[in-house]
Amino acid sequence: MGIDLGTSYTCVAIIEDGMPTVIPNEWGERTHASVVSFMDDGRVLVGNDAKKQIITNPDNTVYSAKRLIGRFYFSEEVRKARSVVPYNIVEGTNNSVRIQIRDTMYSVPELSAIVLKEMRQVVENHTGQTVTKAVITVPAYFNDNQRQATKDAGKIAGLDVLRIINEPTAAALSYGFGQGYNQRVVLYDLGGGTFDVSILDIGDDVFEVISTAGDTYLGGDDFDDRIMHWLADSFEQQQKVDLRKDKYALQKLKEAAEKAKIGLSEHEVVQIHIPLIYTDENGYSLDFSTTLSRAEFNQMVMDLVQRTFKVCDEALQSARITASEVDCIILVGGPTRLPIIRSSVRHYFQKQPLTDVDPDEVVAMGAAIQAHALLDNQQSTYLLDVTPLTLRLGTVGGYTERIIDKNTPIPIERTRSFTTATDFQERVRIKIYQGESNLLAENTLLGEFEFSGFRVAMRGEVTIEVTFEIDADGIVNVSARDLETGAQASTTLSLSSGLSDAEVDQAISRNEGMVVADRA
């Protein structure tokens, strides 16, 4: 199966009679809110049911977990999330993020695993068979930590994760699969929480990613936030009350904002009505009604839309092409239904974007195609993807050195030689980063590796060859050997925000014991 594990919504597809097919749940829903809600009576709700609990059970309902996955507690995104979400984000070991639900601490992958397990259930209900093998998609711009954490989530859900692939690449696969195209395509992928652009050359059966760029802090959620703050501002003007101080009211505003945004895709003006949003000191409850026009909305989000084109500029520049050299633009992600996005994309590329693919389902379908291809020897498509971020080595004085450039095809490896710096040195430590700055502090730390087990000698006498590999999942592996003796040096990794094997095992058993409640 192929799973598009989104910030806001998740979708699952399989290959049925040779065709990628989205599998709906028993209520016919084809996409499922990426939300988990822990009820007071011990039940666990997942998906669209759980989403309804955001308002009534805000402390114990987790949404947008993907914004936190694979991030350090001190990161900007986590700080931002802590100020907006009602559930309790706390710090775990090694600067990791934990979410506290009543007295229990959950890791982020563990919560994503509950959503993944539900997707597996949807497929198993449909096929009547056990299904464990899955391809899971991630934003192209995800770093190694985020990919590892997503893979862990799959493992915790009891899945055999065949491959982690990039969302825009999956979408391209779904678009070009079996079509025999020879085209240069741009994938403009605006999801709930992330934005990616990938440029691919499709040559018959080969899907070569030329460049990718992204912003993991930009998505449809940000558009909702703009409406939400606009609503709060207008309410404050009318009633002199700041609803942002009230968690419950804020969630209601957020819900209304998302609804209004979706409404504006079809209508020029939408009515917004939120009953009983506020109760004053006299116990008098207030409703809130207003209208929002497309023009007002467009103005609110113009800078967000412009930011997506900065990313497009970057992707085109990396690919060394201009917008006019693109044959086709494919829109991916629910927010690309917005008229402002469609018209801006058309204006930027001077070409009508393709609209006959479903932006909510195309990624899951592509993932299903890739899962099928990996398991079937008759595979006939070749994905040549790239690494989105430059892999770097920490050097002295707070600087870094490039090892593997961004937009390098994967899998790939690069070797570096290191000589010992002190007499009788027993271990060599290296720190690995991802990012686009020469300054260490501006990159993301992936991990710290320590090598030992090589010959102990005078300084400069021992040369250790370190191999950095980025595998087909986009995940970084490091190995080392003593160049002279050929002895493999042992590697230990520390200080990443990821889960230890023991933590994964513990999460697996907790996940196995968890029963997702049926819809009432």
């Binding site: 990996l374 020897n377 595979q379 070749y382 899998p411 790939i412």
Partner: protein, 180 residues
């Protein structure tokens, strides 16, 4: 090692041989292209080789040695493609493998990269005065003022004593002046 029933044993044996001999081949040989091959041809060769050796094709193969071999080949093919699709790196690499250190230069290393950066700096001069005088010498040459160019380059070499580019140009000018 269990053999893969879907793959001809000769083909598998050949792939393993290729994987073992990669370190003896230059990037052009790996891609199966001529040194002068145009960029489009390298891209086509890259696609063709990935069709043959893409690790995904062998994802479910029981022959682990074969899987390791094709992964090794695919990675080296990608490396060759990445270096050769960049015109500057390609020029540097092509010179390196034609030189006396060919055996050590078959893979584009951090040394190659450092040298390439160095060359780029040398091209224009390392010092502000060097760059200025180099530009002045170029102007003189365009006007056909060989003596002026000679003077500027000699001064430039006072600032950058070992700039090969300055030296070569100066020698050229001296030869031209001598021939008159």
């Amino acid at each position: 090692m269990p053999e893969d029933p879907n793959i001809h044993p000769d083909w598998a044996a050949e792939a393993k041989d290729i994987a073992d001999s990669l370190d003896l081949l230059d990037y052009f040989q790996i891609l199966g292209a001529e040194i002068e091959a145009p960029a489009e041809e390298l891209k086509l060769r890259y696609h063709q080789l990935q069709r043959n050796y893409h690790p995904d094709t062998f994802f479910s193969s029981p022959d682990l040695e074969l899987r390791a071999a094709v992964t090794k080949i695919a990675k080296r093919v990608a490396e060759a493609y990445v270096i050769l699709r960049d015109p500057q790196k390609r020029a540097k690499y092509t010179r390196d493998i034609a030189g006396p250190e060919r055996a050590q230069r078959l893979r584009y290393s951090e040394d190659s990269e450092r040298e390439a950066r160095q060359e780029k700096v040398e091209e224009l001069g390392r010092t502000a005065q060097g760059r200025k005088l180099w530009a002045k010498a170029q102007d003189c040459l365009r006007r056909g003022d060989l003596q002026g160019a000679q003077r500027d380059l000699q001064t430039a070499l006072l600032f950058e004593r070992d700039n090969e580019r300055f030296k070569t140009k100066l020698d050229e000018i001296k030869a031209q002046l001598g021939a008159r």
